[in-house]
Symmetry: D2
Subunit: 367 residues, 4 copies
């Protein structure tokens, strides 16, 4: 890589076009929490020009009015554009919209002109019946759906470059699937035994106001929610089933805990054979051998969300319990980075043949 | 109950002896978090005179210097007394000490003179072998151990009145056992399937300084700890085995979350029969029919720790998942009240034939 | 006081009428944070029957659905009543409504039938011009206004018993005025020098949804707001001017900090004379000699909000700085208790000649 | 700037020497909170090789064991080196040590070999008498002290390049001085009127264990501490006096609030003339015209710590109050970045003629 420019000048008043080979990008739904993280990551990305920041709610308002942390860094106003318009001028378009709003918009024509990276749920489930069952909507764009790829980078790295539509996985699902796939691929566990108990910071609930996310209502408390009914369940089951080569059903239980960022999943599985944590360590290390963002923790260590905060890392650790014959796998991610915007950038990097870690190399920040 | 007095005068400079029939009590280890909650609860209790506040670390120092919330309420100094001394003058002695410090002290003679309510772990495990295995100590006082009762009030209410030594259960265990006992008593679940995923506020770690509880190290983060190795495991297994009539082994996984108070347990069990949440609701309501502190939530509702905070309540709710055949039971308590000091007072109430709810009737406080 | 009844039975399904001499009360606006604290305090109050819980938004819904901490304690549904209706059946009516909604409703007729304790702002400012200036509304009920009393109990205890309309002070104002009055009464400070820097937990912003109180927007951050423009300013100035015997203007700056409860005010004043903290201590102790809820801290100690949480206490401490000639006075209250519901109960106690501390004797709770 | 290398490779196992023109650096006291931030910032810095991480407490232990967020990023072990040793091999040595430990170590010989950037307090106060008065120690190295520069970059940018010893300012002081200097330089305020009310997150208290920073003791509470006695006071006064051209004494009151990061200062000053916020805005904009890290907020906006978090920015806003004749200036910084490690890097950049913003261009992160 040869650079001739001052990277990320702090006073860059324009989202510049100073790099001849930079790709042009746009974001639709940029003022949600995942959207604004994408703005930040793309702004820091050396190969990317962020051309359009679209937000229906904030059209005409300076992005740095909505998110004053961007003062002096982003001076553009929010526009209101749809994916068809953006496709004309952008090499990649990121969508961060509620489910149901995206699938009707995507056409073959759009996908000829641009790469769509969808942070929403509309193209994550391969089976439109399952989509209907969990989201209550008829997916009317199944031909396009068939051309898409599930953008869990560590599992689909080889397929992503040939795709024009990348369905960025959900936050809980990223952590759950990456935590469990090596066990299923290696047929180490009873596939009917999988239980995932997840804990999420509040930013996962988004920026829309609701009583449950009102500060005094969720501070100093913990609750389970959508038990046996959360929409990330079918996404997890789809990928674990593919890994296992048979249908896998899981219990997935999300919990809301009083912090802003981070997801921890604690997964319980019945081992088919007597397996030590050391053996699991080697199996996981082998499985994620070429994955720069996966950190497998040595036996004796377990993930904490603070150690991945603001980074694209996934930390995975495990304990085996001889008394019960179970393996307990703990995974941690930053829900807005590896669980959303960071993984979207990682997908873009893979798709456009940049180094996979470009713009994502920052070390997690404590305290 | 007939009262002739002004209850809890706010200016009570002396831990008074104004009620002829009041019992005299003392606390050893009063300056830990559970101990100071006990001071507060006993100070508000209309049938109790709190005569001695003992704390080796703070001997000679005013209790309200250690805990300034007690300014004007408690004017006494901490003393340094052992249980033998206190037994001479108190009807009930509460011990809140680290494990291993209590069992060598308790004698038949002491138990003839006073009722000992032990908030520590030394008399909770019926089998001294199990104690040795999990705590690494030889329990040298097994004769006394045999005379004790496991003070989980809802299960042992009938036995407690005849006992001089009451082993107050642990915080995690109280929530776990009460959440699961009806399922096991009614033989509704596969006894080998029990998984308890628990989340605790930081006060559960006590007042002793350690890096893991240093504010910037645990704020804004979540972690699992002592996975498959936490000492509350054998206590849970003991009681669940008794409920099931067969040996039960569980996976118990505690997590530390960034809040001061509260425990939530999410328990996973495989149902033996197709059972609805409505049926479970009726079974639990029947089981806890006479228990003033157990609130069984109707199907559709789940506990949140904030709704039991600062109270002696246990909230229990459940979801059944037809897809996987599991019942998920969620329990919530305040770890320092029902999980420690409140249950100790409840045990005292039962033992001394006070109304079980005396001094424990306060409504949980939000926000 | 002679009681023949079991106080606060935990299973009291009805807000009962079991005490012949109890006064009947009702709350309008009961589902805000201050309102629900009032429900809790009145439910625990031995001299009070809480007859009506009114909430326009939740009419017909069980109060314990809105606030599940009240499960098993309050089984009534919310009604929708106005003050005229309640006056017919209640000895005291509490209003917890936004400003502007109360003053048009209160009539002489109502005040002949019931005592109105208004937790809102409509009758706090003696001068309707000042009300107009700060609240932008013409106060059209000035005759009634003239009959009211500013219900800062420690200052107006002697007047309150003769009043039918009590204007309960604001949260910031209670802490500010009580912190500063002794200095002004004793003419110890330059009246033009008063600066009050206040820090509040988030519950002070109420239960209405807004982006500023969305968890991820206020967690892990601090900000000043409404600088030189907060509506508690004229209320503070009114009472400090009365204390000083001359017009006092202050700078009052509120800050929002990431916690649920509590207010701390740090007040800066220029001393007219060389005065030590010891001297201030004696002056404050004398001034608040008969006030059971004021705790003056000895020099060397300063208030922390946790030590007054969930109580009606006001903690006040001070430092004098010889280098600059200033006294810095720090005050702490629980914003929903002494800053709202607790003081309302205290006003009721005074008005109905109950012991001033009845129902308010609980010790602050830590951690 | 011409780079031929892949910046910040995520798998950089060695703190490499891959850049011929990179400067070599070392950190003494690297395992405190400021120290580890410095490790992170220097690791990301394109012009720097971080050669030594010294920590007496953790000698021989991998740095990523102490701070697991650095897993895969830093693989070195902590060494135990003193400044003399490091000076032999490093172009710049950063010290992050408690006061009193640094001044005895620095010699002319060291300063000939390396640039010392001291994050501690030993060389911040120009007058050793003042140092003695506030720190209780005789400063025995006054000759070296005279050669040092107070490294508040915005004020001493022109002097820093000629210096071998740079005293990095304190966190509170950075925010306070930068907030107030334009007012004093322009003689707009009564120099005797300055009051600074500061609020800090808990990381400012460092990583050493103490009860006040134990999670349950500082969560959900706010307190003032070291009122009229905090050691940052003389540092603030020194610089404000220099700005004013006369002696300035201030009241500085720090508060601890329950969050991990950030400082907000609210400063009160009496204006000498009728001045509008618009006028102040222009004055501040002019004053900080060439300062890439200072963001002056337009009237109507005020800083919040979250909008500077994890960045080197200082946000400054103000309100003028006609009623009282005061200007209230609010400043916000990240205490560990602009308040410590970031400013140290900024000083290094200036000293070594790098672009001042190199390695510090990251946008603040929310939520």
């Amino acid at each position: 890589m040869l650079l001739f420019i001052d990277l990320f000048p702090i006073d860059s008043k324009t989202i510049g076009s100073y790099h001849i080979s930079m790709i042009k990008t746009g974001i639709i739904g940029a003022t949600g929490y995942a959207g604004q993280e994408l703005v930040r990551l793309l702004n820091h990305h050396p190969e990317v020009e962020l051309k359009y920041i679209s937000s229906r709610s904030y059209e005409g308002i300076k992005f740095s009015e909505v998110y004053p942390n961007f003062r002096d860094s982003i001076t553009e106003k929010c526009v209101s554009m749809d994916v068809t318009e953006m496709a004309e001028e952008c090499d990649a378009v990121f969508l961060a919209l509620p489910h149901g709003l995206t699938f009707p918009q995507i056409t073959e024509d759009i996908l000829k002109k641009t790469v769509v990276i969808d942070l929403g749920a509309d193209f994550r489930l391969n089976n439109p019946e399952v989509y209907k069952q969990w989201y209550g909507l008829n997916h009317t764009n199944t031909e396009i759906l068939e051309t898409s790829v599930y953008g869990l980078c560590e599992l689909y790295r080889d397929i992503i470059p040939g795709k024009a539509l990348i369905a960025n996985p959900g936050c809980y699902t990223t952590c759950s699937i990456l935590s469990l796939t090596p066990l299923l691929k290696n047929k180490l566990i009873d596939t009917s035994s999988v239980i995932i108990d997840a804990k999420s910071g509040v930013s996962g609930a988004g920026r829309s106001l609701s009583l449950g996310v009102h500060y005094p209502e969720c501070n100093e408390s913990v609750k389970a929610y959508k038990v046996a009914a959360h929409r990330h369940t079918p996404e997890i089951e789809q990928e674990l089933s593919l890994a296992a080569g048979e249908e896998v059903r899981v219990n997935f239980t999300p919990h809301l805990i009083p912090m802003s960022r981070g997801i921890l999943t604690t997964s319980y599985t019945n081992l088919l054979f007597d397996t030590t944590a050391d053996e699991l360590y080697r199996i996981y290390k082998d499985f994620y051998n070429n994955d720069p963002f996966i950190r497998i923790l040595e036996p004796g260590y377990l993930p904490e969300t603070r150690f991945v905060r603001y980074s694209n890392y996934v930390d995975i650790g495990f304990v085996t319990d001889k008394r019960t014959g179970r393996a307990i796998v703990v995974g941690a991610i930053d829900n807005l980075i590896k669980g959303a915007a960071g993984q979207a950038v990682q997908n873009m990097n893979i798709r456009f043949h940049f180094d996979e870690t470009t713009g994502l190399k920052n070390i997690p920040i404590v305290p």
